[in-house]
């Protein structure tokens, strides 16, 4: 889990021509290469799954003996349809964007940028959830309670958003955001303090708190305080206009200030980990707990701080979702984003900037997946499979080494068992 950006010259046998160096860079199996190869492998496995789900392709493979060309053609057709819809839905059609800008028509331009805006909207909560979980990773803690912390953050932001109407936006919006962070922090504090005081493993406690949060949410959505007035449906009251994150690119695109704040958080967490005393203690704890203890770090305190901070950051994921996009919470709010945050953090190798890039990739997957489902009629869950396979290979670089027969530096990160 090196923090430095990848340096091709870091190879001890560095030197030689640029071509030789580039060649070594790819053969050395560093993080970028492993991630790239894992990505290729994930796309390959995804392709097999697409073929299996395509009746035309399966039928063509059934007639392989008579017409092998058709089998390949049908398979290629199915794969190309799916992946091109995934691309168009996440980034947009490059030609469409160029033409829209050339036309100068504002309406057309925002239409052309709609996929990109959707990608960034999906990226925002993933980035925050991944960032919080990555922070805990770096302190040697596995925060699996992202879902619960996200729900609590969303609840706090909603509460702050509807409870005190009539405030000016420069007071109301920060209030709602802070409340969201505090609620999330509380949900991270519990596993932290339990670990510090009793040694209870944070994986178990934070996982259990996910379900407590889900049930708490369901309950709160039946109370007069939270439930929207006719009180027929399990949805909360809406956040006041003054607590909503402003849109960045006109009302027709959902892109909002939340993305900018999330990007700022990436820089902030990177600074915290690399430049602050607190971050140094976290990293010491994560690198070698015994050494940290001997060096006089108050381990219990760091556990509590790291989990609370992680909870606050993941809570902001829910906060930005509520204040930027949905404006209210419903039963089961957040879906799998709390869990996706774990995969984002693993893919980013715990490095804040890596997490930012991973969140962008998964955000693109999420936005593209919705288009793929609508246009190519391929279920959105394909991207969940792609993400899981990608992360599985990144978590076990040895597998990539075996498949592609390259050297891989270092092994995957290991947290150890329940007693840790």
């Amino acid at each position: 889990m090196s923090d430095e950006p990848l340096r091709p010259g870091a190879d001890p046998a560095g030197g030689g021509s640029a071509v030789a160096r580039i060649g070594r860079f790819f053969l050395s199996g560093n993080v970028v290469v492993v991630t790239f190869l894992a990505f290729v492998s994930a796309l390959f496995i995804g392709a097999i799954i697409i073929i299996l789900a395509s009746p035309a392709a399966v039928a063509a493979w059934g007639r392989f003996g008579h017409d092998p060309g058709a089998a390949f053609a049908q398979s290629w057709h199915a794969i190309a349809t799916a992946y091109s819809a995934l691309f168009i839905g996440s980034i947009g059609s490059p030609r469409g964007i160029v033409e829209a800008i050339a036309s100068g028509d504002g309406h057309r331009i925002s239409g052309a940028f709609y996929p990109l805006s959707e990608t960034l909207v999906s990226t925002t909560p993933l980035m925050m959830a991944g960032l919080g979980i990555a922070l805990a990773f770096r302190a040697g803690l596995f925060d699996i309670g992202g879902q619960g912390q996200l729900i609590l953050g969303a609840l706090g932001a909603t509460l702050g958003g509807f409870l005190v109407p009539g405030l000016p936006i420069y007071l109301h919006l920060p209030l709602a955001i802070v409340l969201g962070a505090l609620f999330g922090a509380a949900w991270g504090f519990i596993p932290g303090i339990l670990k510090a005081r009793t040694g209870a493993h944070e994986v178990i406690t934070s996982m259990m708190l996910n379900y407590v949060a889900l049930n708490l949410l369901t309950f709160l959505l039946t109370t007069a305080l939270f439930q929207a007035p006719p009180r027929y449906q399990p949805v909360s009251k809406a956040v006041a206009d003054t607590a909503r994150l402003p849109h960045l690119a006109g009302p027709s695109l959902r892109l909002n200030l939340g993305f900018i704040l999330a990007a700022a958080c990436v820089v902030g967490v990177a600074w915290l980990l690399q430049r602050s005393t607190l971050g140094f203690k976290f990293r010491m704890l994560g690198a070698n707990r015994e050494a940290a203890r001997v060096a006089g770090v108050n381990i219990s305190l760091q556990y509590v701080l790291a989990m609370t901070l992680a909870g606050a950051i993941v809570g902001l994921a829910g906060t930005f979702m509520v204040l930027g996009v949905d404006y209210q919470v419903a039963a089961g709010y957040g879906g799998t984003i709390g869990f996706d945050g774990i995969t984002v953090a693993i893919l980013g190798q715990g490095n804040p900037y890596g997490v930012g890039l991973s969140a962008l990739l998964f955000g693109a997957f999420a936005a593209g997946g919705r288009t793929m489902q609508l246009d190519a009629n391929i279920p959105l869950q394909l991207v969940q499979v792609l993400q899981a396979v990608l992360v599985l290979f990144v978590a076990a670089p040895g597998v990539i080494r075996t498949i592609f027969r390259i050297r891989v530096r270092g092994a995957g990160r290991v947290f150890g068992g329940w007693s840790g």
């Binding site: 178990i204 379900y211 049930n215 279920p379 499979v385 092994a411 068992g417 007693s419 840790g420």
Partner: protein, 426 residues
């Protein structure tokens, strides 16, 4: 292996503290139960009200319903809880934590049912029946986790194994029309997921928790993807399996109350009991079990006496996958038939919790699974009554209980020493 950690901070003092804390906490818990009983339930009960406990499951075996005088029951049970709490507080010996807490909870459960069902009929037999059926996948999942963790591999992929096996069981059972082949394929698919977990964590030594979590995400994505793309368009051929019917056990099923509950169930219930007994005996009475536990506690020492650590771990993780696969198949061909989106809904994680709550022991896992199943079933029973209890709080019980358990408040929870540590030969 630098990864082997010393125990939690200040472990010796902590342990002493914890024992005292636990004794106090348990006494307080029992007194709190009594307080709820007497101050909340009994105060809101009018003197003459009665509750009818329905114990009739099979029409062929009529059992007269029991009329319970609510107030007298509440006061009586409350006093018992107070006495238990006081005894616990004053008794300095080794506390029988689980036994006492179990009794306290059971008594409060009875008091609660009597209170909630005032003037109405509570279907107690139905409640117990549902608890038992809910406990089947939980027990199997917990046994799967136990098989893996006793050999030193954490299995968080139980949820994923459940989902994939539920899917495969439904599809194969539906396509072949043979439920036994469906069950077999479901079990094998669980074993296959176990094999994936084994390859990544044992051979490639990736982090076991990470791989487990990612396998769960993979399984959820994959089953939903194929559900929408293949099963929904072919609902009749691929996703409408029959379900296993009840198999009455001659004579035993004629016992009132117990007969219909335990001896007129489908194969899943019997299979669970058989697997439970096998795991319990194999783990603690056989040479195989001794080896497994040695590998889970101290793999290096096990290796030096000639035990093949990696092979034992592989075998156990695959076996665990098969057991979880049987549990997964029970979701579809064991109860509802059709496969539905995310139908396990986190029960794989509750199974993991049941394993921990049961302290890595098969019988403990069964007890925890029954307790969790009971609280799940209680929600259904309560929704049939007019009592104003938010079921969401009952639904939280298993999770809160597990948090308390791992926090050491109800007995020390000690995992196998090498649990979660990848093993590399020297």
């Amino acid at each position: 292996m630098s990864q082997v950690e010393p125990a939690a901070p200040g472990s010796r003092e902590l342990r002493k503290d914890l024992a005292a804390m636990r004794r106090r906490a348990l006494a307080i818990a029992l007194l709190a139960l009594a307080a709820i009983d007497l101050l909340v339930f009994a105060r809101t009960t009018s003197a003459g009200s009665k509750t009818i406990f329905e114990l009739n499951a099979a029409p062929a075996l009529p059992v007269p319903p029991i009329h319970i005088p609510v107030l007298a029951t509440l006061v009586g049970l409350g006093i018992v809880c107070v006495l238990l709490g006081l005894a616990q507080y004053l008794w300095k010996g080794n506390p029988r934590t689980y036994l006492l807490l179990g009794i306290g909870l059971a008594l409060t459960g009875i008091a609660f049912l009597a209170w909630a069902g005032q003037g109405e009929t509570v279907d107690v037999e139905g409640l117990l029946m549902t608890s038992l059926i809910e406990a089947v996948p939980l027990t199997l999942g917990a046994l799967s986790g136990l098989l893996c963790e006793r050999s030193g591999v954490i299995n968080i992929a139980i949820e994923g194994q459940f989902l994939i096996a539920a899917f495969v069981g439904a599809v194969v059972g539906s396509a072949t029309g043979n439920l036994w082949i469906g069950l077999l394929c479901g079990a094998l698919s669980g074993g296959l997921v176990g094999l994936i977990l084994a390859v990544f964590t044992i051979t490639y030594r990736a982090d076991q928790i990470i791989v487990g979590v990612v396998i769960d995400a993979f399984a959820l994505g994959l089953t939903t993807f194929f559900l929408l793309s293949l099963l929904v368009p072919n609902q009749m051929t691929l996703n409408s399996p029959a379900v296993f019917g009840p198999i009455p056990i001659p004579l035993l099923d004629k016992i009132p109350i117990v007969g219909p509950l335990l001896f007129d169930q489908n194969i899943m219930v019997y299979l669970t009991i058989i697997i439970l007994v096998i795991v319990q005996v194999a783990l603690f009475q056989t040479r195989w079990g001794l080896r497994v536990r040695a590998v889970g506690e101290h793999p290096r020492a096990a290796e030096t006496v000639g035990i093949n650590v990696l092979r034992i771990r592989y075998r156990n993780v695959i076996l665990g996958g098969i057991v979880a696969g049987i549990g997964g198949a029970s979701f579809t061909i064991g109860s509802t038939g059709q496969f539905a989106h995310n139908m396990t809904a986190g029960l794989g994680y509750i199974a993991l919790a049941a394993m921990i709550f049961g302290r890595w022991r098969p019988l403990g896992a069964l007890g925890a699974a029954l307790l969790f199943g009971f609280f799940d079933a209680l929600q259904f029973t309560l929704s049939a009554l007019s009592a104003p209890i938010p079921s969401d709080f009952l639904a939280m019980f298993p999770y809160l209980a597990t948090i308390l358990a791992v926090a050491g408040l109800v007995g020390r929870v000690v995992p196998p020493a090498a649990d979660g540590q990848p093993y590399a030969r020297e």
